[in-house]
């Protein structure tokens, strides 16, 4: 029974879906938003102000769940990450795929680093001599959208004039801590930049949202909405228009299309009733996150679309990219031994970055192409994880653990994988999830370029610690499992040639004109920057393009 026809159906409520919903609602369109999980309740689901001793397992979590938990999941966030819907991996692939299906998705718990990409990223193929292809969008075209997003959500940083990092419009930065001053000095001796990160976190009141209170537990969710997330900053604006109908627990099975090649609606399964429901729309925005969006298109098969909807190119699911993350090194700063404790752990200890400094003078100065960034953390944390560096027991151990409390530092890298024909998502021919929907099967391996960067990053970290007067405790043994960063990109890439790309430069699929993609799946690959700010900027641009097309009657 086809009920109401909405102007647009939006699948997903993360950064991309949230921006699309807000933009489309404010343009006066009627929106049905489908989200595959529940709404979170900040008072219950955000346990960021609990102390370890308030938790049954002191924050370490139930050991019996240890193998089930994703790395990002712990006792404070138990119950908000997706485990019901499974996925498979091809032989030889290790892939950890943490997903938050709650309303707002990963924006509820994200890392908040929000740097703009630039032409060094968009024109990278030309710059580095032809690996893969350039993005179909230049920095000049996207820059105004970055500005509007920054003004809307609030990003704290400084103007840094780095060739790899376009500057934006910033709130005052977070103040540097003792450990930052020491590391900054050391890094400058070895030619590594050490600067305030771009943090989508409020250092002053902004657009009706209170500033950060520096409790330090951001990744357990913010109960004051002081960093960007869709439920705090975008959905209230959409709901104010009265144009939004948000359906939760709606697991999308397929996008429906007619014989003429138009999307007509979406079929989903209600998680609670297990019933299949269809909803009709004049256009569809797909923003379920990279791998999930590809899965939905590949599962939307019909006589006309035997390989999946909007997939005449055969490129849907291809070129899956990810950030290689890993602890490149850790150690301590003896300058701070025995000093009184200090609130170093603000913003989950992540307020600075070492933005890409490689291959800037010429694109081929290193053994690898392109570049990576590093995030330093350290100082007084919730648990003295460095205890295993101190041997012994008794009064001496107790005293030493306290003496070292200010001193530990640790670094992790953000290394983009290169697009590769062997890294992709497909539909598992045999396995279905609990709702009867075929699951994604992931093929992924780190390539040589990423691993060269990893070796480089370990050396750079060691150099930085030593140049800062610090002692190195250890270097990373191996990178974290692929998927760890939660920064998947690619799979529905944008480009001008319909034979090579799924969408055009506006996220509009080449095959189905009233179907738009508004998440990181349209990106050509990862860069040394995080994805959320760029998802917001590209989703804003694509959504406004969709509004125009609907108004012109072009769809």
């Amino acid at each position: 029974m086809p009920g109401k026809t909405y102007d647009v159906i939006v699948i997903g409520t993360g950064a991309g879906g949230g921006m699309a919903i807000k933009t489309l609602c404010e343009a006066g369109l009627t929106i049905c938003a489908l989200n595959s999980g529940r709404r979170l309740e900040p008072s219950k689901d955000f346990r960021n102000h609990r102390q370890p001793y308030d938790m049954t397992y002191r924050g370490f979590g139930d050991p019996r769940k240890r193998d089930r938990f994703y790395h990002i999941e712990n006792e404070y966030s138990d119950g908000v990450w997706e485990h019901g819907i499974t996925y498979t991996t091809a032989p030889g692939t290790s892939w950890e795929w943490p997903r938050c299906h709650a309303v707002g998705g990963k924006t509820n718990f994200w890392g908040r680093s929000a740097a703009r990409m630039g032409d060094i990223d968009f024109k990278t193929a030309t710059l580095d001599g032809g690996y893969d292809v350039d993005w179909p969008v230049s920095y000049d075209e996207i820059a105004p959208f970055y500005s509007r997003v920054e003004r809307l959500i609030g990003v704290a940083s400084t103007v840094q004039k780095r060739p790899s990092n376009p500057d934006g419009e910033y709130l005052p930065p977070m103040k540097l801590r003792c450990l930052d001053h020491i590391l900054e000095r050391g890094c400058s001796k070895v030619g590594i930049p050490y600067l305030p990160d771009r943090l989508a976190q409020l250092t002053v009141p902004h657009e009706g949202h209170p500033p950060c209170h520096y409790c330090g537990n951001c990744t357990e969710g913010c109960d004051t909405g002081s960093f960007f997330s869709t439920p705090w900053m975008l959905l209230p604006l959409a709901e104010k228009t009265g144009k939004l109908e948000l359906r939760t627990n709606a697991v999308v099975k397929a996008i429906l299309a007619d014989e003429s090649g138009h999307a007509t609606g979406v079929a989903y399964v209600d998680r609670e009733t297990k019933q299949e429901i269809e909803v009709r729309g004049r256009a569809v925005v797909l923003a379920a996150s990279c791998v999930e969006s590809a899965r939905i298109l590949l599962n939307s098969k019909s006589r006309r679309w035997p390989n999946g909807l909007a997939n005449s190119s055969g490129q849907a699911g291809r070129n899956l990219c990810d950030h290689l993350y890993g602890t490149t090194g850790y150690g301590y700063l003896p300058q701070l031994l025995g000093q009184p404790s200090f609130p170093d752990n603000v913003s989950a200890s992540q307020i600075v970055w070492m933005p890409r400094w490689q291959n800037l003078k010429s694109p081929r100065e290193e053994k690898f192409i392109r570049g990576y960034s590093i995030y330093p953390t350290g100082g007084c944390g919730e648990f003295p994880w460095y205890h295993d560096q101190i041997e012994g027991f008794g009064a001496e151990l107790k005293r030493d653990i306290k003496r070292y409390y200010r001193t530990p530092v640790s670094f992790y890298c953000q290394i983009p994988s290169l697009p590769s024909p062997t890294n992709y998502v497909e539909i598992d021919p045999e396995v279905k999830d609990i709702y009867g929907i075929p699951v994604a099967r992931v093929h992924f391996q780190w390539g040589p370029n990423e691993l060269l960067m990893w070796e480089h990053a370990k050396q750079a970290t060691t150099d930085a610690i030593k140049a800062s007067g610090g002692e190195v405790w250890g270097v990373g043994k191996e990178p974290y499992t692929p998927g760890w960063s939660l920064h998947e990109t690619g799979t529905l890439r944008m480009g001008n040639d319909p034979k090579q790309f799924v969408t055009n430069a506006f996220g509009q699929t080449h095959d189905v004109s009233n179907l738009f993609v508004c998440d990181a799946s349209v990106f050509l690959g990862c860069t040394d920057k995080t994805t959320t700010l760029s998802i917001l900027a590209f989703a804003l641009r694509s959504s406004e393009h969709l509004v125009q097309r609907l108004r012109n009657g072009a769809l």
Binding site: Y53, R58, Q335, P340, P343, H387
Partner: protein, 204 residues
């Protein structure tokens, strides 16, 4: 500042959290060691703890080991923080380490018997310390005690997990997250000394 009513309510709230969340007997010292509002730890006298996982003899050894690892000296230690109760609970919840604990405790008693003719808990404090020195410090490791070294590492890890997650332990570190909500982030207090080479000598 905090009136008696509030303290009491806080203690009850914490007890309720621990009890409701765990459905596990005991926790009296642990819960009280978690008291939020009062200035320091509240010591609890009363019924003895009945271990849920360890036997009475095993538990006595665990309690003694925790006390040796984080002693009560000028500041409270594992005993006041109820660390052995936490270990009993955690090991009871963790099938992956149960055998290692049981085996390690058995090894320790057998080893104590070989060296000193009694189980570990019954040794003189100096004998206990001597035995542990050889397990704890690489420079004093002895061939043939590798299993004991591995068990000591496991036991020490659980003791530190149990201690530095109580209010007592976190206060000793000066963990800023216990109290800190800031209107503005305090920056480094030594802007004139970016390399921090001339900091005042640590106290204590």
């Amino acid at each position: 500042m905090a009136g008696q009513g509030l303290e009491r309510r806080e203690v009850l709230r914490i007890l309720a959290i621990a009890a409701a969340a765990s459905g596990y007997p005991g926790f009296q010292r642990w819960s009280f060691a978690c008291d939020h509002e009062s200035g320091g730890p509240v010591q609890v006298k009363g019924r003895t703890y009945t271990p849920g996982f360890f036997s009475a003899a095993e538990y006595a050894t665990v309690e003694r080991l925790a006390e040796l690892i984080i002693p009560s000296d000028s500041s409270p230690g594992a005993r006041e923080a109820g660390v052995s109760e936490f270990i009993d609970f955690m090991v009871g919840s963790d099938p992956a380490v149960q055998y290692r604990f049981r085996y390690g405790l058995t090894w320790l008693d057998a080893h104590a018997g070989r060296l000193f003719g009694a189980s570990f808990a019954k040794l003189q404090p100096a004998q206990q310390t001597d035995l542990l020195n050889h397990l704890a410090y690489r420079s004093q490791h002895r061939a043939g005690e590798e299993e004991g070294q591995a068990f000591f590492k496991l036991m020490r890890e659980h003791t530190l997990m149990g201690f530095y997650t109580t209010r007592i332990g976190l206060e000793q570190l000066g963990y800023p997250g216990l109290t800190s909500f800031y209107a503005e982030l305090p920056g480094c207090p030594h802007p004139a000394d970016p390399e921090h080479l001339h900091l005042p000598a640590p106290k204590g």
